[in-house]
């Protein structure tokens, strides 16, 4: 048994341990890496940055705890950016465990915005964001396609009340807001197939500007929609979240996580190369024999 055969028969738990050690050590050692901004991420930031005080955006928090790592930093970065600019946000959640994620995110972002901070050289005074005035959380309904189409007619059709049971008309933010015509854009942060529903049944029928925040697994699949103009921007995975954090001058979990990503990728690439070198050598040996 040569060295490569021995390596190939290695218990996979040693591979797990090696990867875990690399990730933990990289996380603990302080260093930073440059985050390069892509055009598809910049489009979203620029769009939101040029909106005026009082403009309303729609954020669909369509992810479950299993995609929390990539999606939460995106939600925090975009919502905080919007609140700092005094935009109003209508939240909804069309995934099963999404309402809990949205509720958690709204609580955390509300606390964060209370503290005055400087972003990109501009000081933003801390403020209280009030439910019903600065934002509203509509809640969840099953069957995303039908809900998206219903909201295009009137938000009150699928959501007569908000998540907390208050009728929508009792909230000042919903005065004069009927459907997508009164909002500037929809940002769908999604780890599920609901994103297809937003593109087909939402943007396709009601023609509002749509931006996507997607998991890494899905990101590469939606470039055709970016190219056709159905979507104006894509944030892909933790990288997309890190890019938005950098543009907003609000580094957080995503920028921190990219450091570990870098070395984990190098480890995976090493494993692939080692595996293939071993495979080629054993194939050559088999041919000789």
């Amino acid at each position: 048994m040569n060295i490569f055969d021995r390596m190939m028969s290695l218990d996979r738990r040693w591979v797990f341990l090696f990867l875990a050690l690399v990730c933990v050590i990289t996380h603990v050692v302080p260093f930073s890496i440059p985050i390069i901004i892509t055009q598809e991420a910049k489009s979203i930031y620029s769009f939101i940055d040029t909106l005026k005080e009082g403009d309303i955006i729609f954020m669909a928090i369509d992810y479950d705890p299993n995609s929390l790592a990539e999606m939460h930093p995106m939600t925090y970065a975009i919502a905080e950016h919007a609140f700092r600019k005094k935009l109003k946000i209508i939240f909804t959640s069309l995934s099963v465990n999404g309402p809990g994620m949205a509720d958690l995110a709204i609580r955390d972002i509300s606390d964060s915005v209370k503290i005055g901070k400087t972003y990109n050289g501009v000081y933003y005074e801390g403020r209280e964001v009030v439910n019903g005035i600065d934002y509203i959380f509509l809640g969840y309904k099953p069957y995303p396609a039908l809900v998206i189409v219903g909201m295009g007619q009137n938000f009150r059709l699928p959501f007569p009340t908000d998540y907390y049971g208050t009728p929508l008309d009792e909230h000042p933010i919903m005065q004069g807001v009927q459907n997508y015509d009164q909002i500037k854009c929809v940002v769908d942060i999604s780890g599920t197939s609901g994103v297809d529903m937003w593109i087909t049944y939402g943007q396709g029928r009601y023609n509002f500007p749509l931006a996507l925040g997607l998991t890494g697994v899905m990101a590469a699949d939606y470039y055709p929609y970016l190219n056709s103009g159905q979507v104006f921007g894509i944030l892909g995975g933790l990288l997309g979240a890190a890019q938005y954090e950098k543009m907003a001058d609000n580094p957080g979990r995503a920028v921190d996580g990219m450091r570990v990503q870098l070395f984990a990728h190098i480890v995976i690439i090493l494993f692939i190369v080692m595996g293939n070198v071993g495979f080629l050598l054993s194939r050559r040996k088999a041919r000789k024999d």
Binding site: A20, C23, A69, E70, N97, V217, N227, S228, R253, H265
Partner: protein, 265 residues
């Protein structure tokens, strides 16, 4: 900085315990992992039920019938027709009865009719037509090689997109045998598809790693809170991690003694 309460730290410890219990599956299946797995299934189901009730039935059904009386089946309400979708929904539950399952076909038919009718024009327009329009955009022959290294907006890139889409569609056309020129085009199509899948795989690796990175960040926060907090926090931290350290030590001793007894004396 506001001092964290012991109660909140205990909850953080519960989260850390379940995180480590789930990670223990990487070594092997064990009671801690099974416990976490079964608890999360039950809690998820309960959570979903509550959300359906408070976010679904309550605003869309019960609020609309609230001026009626349940003992009159809400027929005295100002909007009694909302009983009908409720009855149709309840008819879905006959799916579990062998004798009465045919009753569930009516609400399913209603739902399917609406969903499929809604889907046809929108899917055709957005998945097919708009994608085809973008594929058939004019090639910029004047700027064929683009500006700089591998320009995505250059003429050759646009031409490659057009040829790539057509050949990928050729590959998926199985009503004709892939022979001759057809085979050649389909082969180019599968090359393009493989590059696409490779790109997705590259992104997928990033996605999976980031999930683990977030867990490290959470455990780090928990550890930092314990070590910078009071003695009680530290004690709870030791108990939480200690359970798994003891488990790991036990397994290590078993592994070493097994190795020792396996080597011939």
């Amino acid at each position: 900085m506001e001092q964290l309460s012991v109660g909140t730290f205990i909850w953080m410890s519960v989260a850390a315990f379940f995180t480590l219990a789930t990670f223990s599956f990487l070594y092997k299946d064990n009671p801690f992992y099974k416990l976490a797995e079964h608890i999360v299934v039950g809690i998820s189901a309960g959570y979903f039920l509550i959300i359906l009730w408070h976010n679904g039935l309550q605003p869309n059904l019960f609020n609309r019938l609230e001026d009626g009386n349940w003992y009159l089946f809400w027929l005295n309400s100002s909007r009694p027709w909302y009983i009908i979708p409720a009855i149709l929904g309840a008819m879905m539950w006959t799916r579990f009865s062998r004798k009465w399952s045919w009753v569930s076909r009516w609400p399913i038919a209603l739902y399917l009719g609406i969903a499929t009718g809604l889907a046809i024009p929108l899917e055709m327009r957005n998945r097919v037509n708009r994608q085809l329009y973008s594929t058939m955009s004019e090639v910029d022959w004047g700027n064929f090689f683009g500006n700089g290294f591998l320009d995505s907006t250059a003429g050759f890139s646009q031409l490659l997109i057009f040829l790539g889409v057509i050949s990928a569609l050729f590959y998926f056309f199985f009503s004709k045998e892939h022979t001759g020129v057809f085979k050649g085009i389909a082969r180019f199509g599968i090359w393009i598809l493989m590059i696409g899948f490779g790109s997705s795989f590259g992104y997928t690796v990033m996605a999976r790693i980031s999930l683990f990175v977030q867990r490290i960040q959470v455990l780090e926060d928990y550890t930092t809170t314990a070590w910078t907090g009071s003695g009680v926090f530290l004690l709870i931290w030791f108990i939480t991690f200690g359970i798994f350290v003891i488990m790991a030590a036990y397994e290590l001793i078993r592994f070493l003694t097994r190795k020792q007894s396996a080597t011939p004396s």
